[in-house]
Symmetry: C2
């Protein structure tokens, strides 16, 4: 097994205080690896970074054919639980004749600090709609209703999850060695890191082939690119990087240091795993790789903020900075 390599560095004063290692792959849709760091064969749980794959049955079955691009983006989202996210998912469930009690994901406090504090002050209850995965689950429910499956849609034996697994394995081009249960209680299928990158490359070139899967992949990708702040939220790394990419990338975070990117112009896919699971590192690493590939402009102030991120202490003093490892940046 190839060892993990440096992906991000944490400096305090002149000292390299902490170091994040990991693995990354850039692939074409035909499986050709363009570039790799660490071990492309590493078996990974991609977590939320592959929600666009979990949403494929939503379109392939015809269940979501009439859905707006906003709802398709929410089906692929790890949203921040802002008002707009919660309201849009709530209306989607209402259109299905359901409410938040149909969601199998647990309640999660809003990631928006102002809204979180406002809800604490007013005593407003945190519902399952606030869970970052509520859009994905609304998508699962839409499929379950359409194909007549039970509403226990997170059961790995439920037809919804069987379709998710089939789509996932087909896109990755490999059999999954199994699954873990995700933060939202849905199964999260494992694959090799390069399998995930290949799947992302297939999303990148989708829309020029034929078949329901190809069409579905293109619509989901385009919906993500159209609505960065529905896929994540205001100020979140996914949203900021997609906005900076100006339509040239769909970018998605996953828990435990995962990131994916779909690059339609280049026909490439990227998958990245920080070995220790740190999000602070995966954000910097994906930004660096997209700069390296020419998708992000390092002179854009937002992009630059991912290449040198100040660390401020409780009194607002700059005590250090975080940066992607040199090996990820353009030579």
């Amino acid at each position: 097994m190839t060892e993990a390599v440096p992906l991000a560095e944490i400096y305090r004063g002149k000292f390299l205080e902490s170091l994040h290692l990991g693995h990354a792959v850039v692939s074409r849709a035909d499986g050709e690896i363009v570039e790799a760091w660490g071990d492309p064969d590493l078996v990974v749980l991609p977590r939320s970074s592959i929600k666009m794959m979990q949403a494929l049955p939503l379109l392939e079955t015809g269940a979501g054919s009439d859905l707006s691009t906003e709802r398709l983006a929410l089906a692929c989202a790890s949203h921040s639980g802002e008002r707009r996210h919660v309201e849009k998912v709530g209306r989607w469930l209402a259109d299905l004749g359901l409410d938040e009690h149909a969601l199998c994901c647990g309640p999660q406090v809003s990631r928006n600090p102002e809204l979180r504090d406002q809800m604490i002050r007013s005593g407003e209850p945190v519902t399952r709609l606030f869970n970052n995965c509520s859009g994905k689950h609304a998508g699962f429910l839409t499929v379950a209703r359409h194909i007549g499956a039970g509403l226990d849609y997170v059961d790995p034996e439920n037809p919804v999850q069987k379709q998710v697994r089939e789509a996932f394995e087909d896109m990755c081009g490999e059999d999954s060695p199994g699954f873990g249960i995700d933060g939202c209680s849905a199964p999260n299928f494992a694959a090799s890191l390069k399998g995930i990158a290949i799947a992302m490359a297939r999303f990148a070139v989708a829309g020029h082939g034929s078949g329901a899967r190809d069409t579905a992949a293109a619509r989901l990708r385009d919906a993500m690119i159209e609505h960065p702040e529905l896929v994540a939220g205001r100020g979140r790394a996914c949203a900021q990087l997609m906005q900076a990419a100006k339509g040239r990338a769909a970018i998605k975070t996953g828990a435990e240091g995962f990131y994916t990117a779909i690059l339609p112009e280049l026909g490439l896919g990227v998958a990245l795993k920080v070995a220790d699971g740190a999000t602070r590192a995966s954000e910097l690493a994906i930004a660096a790789i997209l700069v390296r590939l020419g998708v992000l402009d390092p002179k854009d102030p937002i992009v630059a903020s991912f290449l040198h991120r100040p660390i401020l202490n409780w009194d607002g003093l700059k005590t250090g900075f975080e940066r992607p490892a040199e090996g990820l940046l353009p030579a």
Copy 2:
């Protein structure tokens, strides 16, 4: 340089999802390394894990001779900002004729979730007293007053910090290569990992020698052991592990994955750094090493919870677990 070795593993289902590497040293006071993992010569910023060293001048100068063991524990603390912590530090400052405005650490929200939410609801302002380092800073102010130094006590050129540096270098048995500015704005001096472990071992054997430094080290160590919940807070790892050690260890966390332990009965010191800076890993690793050394009983339910820590998702389902790496546990 010796490579970092596995310290903690994160499992989801049957998959090893994330892995934390790092370095650890167990040393005697004479500098003999009893056991080491990774690189004992790694230069580290020990952060809050060496607050007992930063507190040495408080007793050596005579400034704090009459202080209660509670205040000595708070001088060594990264407290949770519970009411008791804030009130005790506030009274200490009042006894100096000062108030929170004399503290150079910034305001920090209480780590106690109930109190934090209660303060949001009531609109109670977050003051500098809530900063986890406020007790350390009260100690610095006590020294500054006593020796007639300026109250800009976090300036590395202030006599208070010069005394801290001298004590730190003497205890570690090496010159410090410099400092970083800590989260509380005070300088945090660098040393080798083995230097920190040696210093902890010197705290372990203190009280049987002579001189102000030896006496000071013994008093600070004993104050930490007497007041685990002032050094940390209710439910915090430091406090839980000290309580489980039943007087046999003073244990202290530091930011970015650091941990130290002082083991008086064994005359040993421990220093540990998770390379990626993760606290979830440092807590498990220090627990495992203290089990290995016979200081903690693995059958104690609290200790056992550090050897197999369930991961629960938003709906309360167990989705995986965290555990220390096998190489740290008893053979």
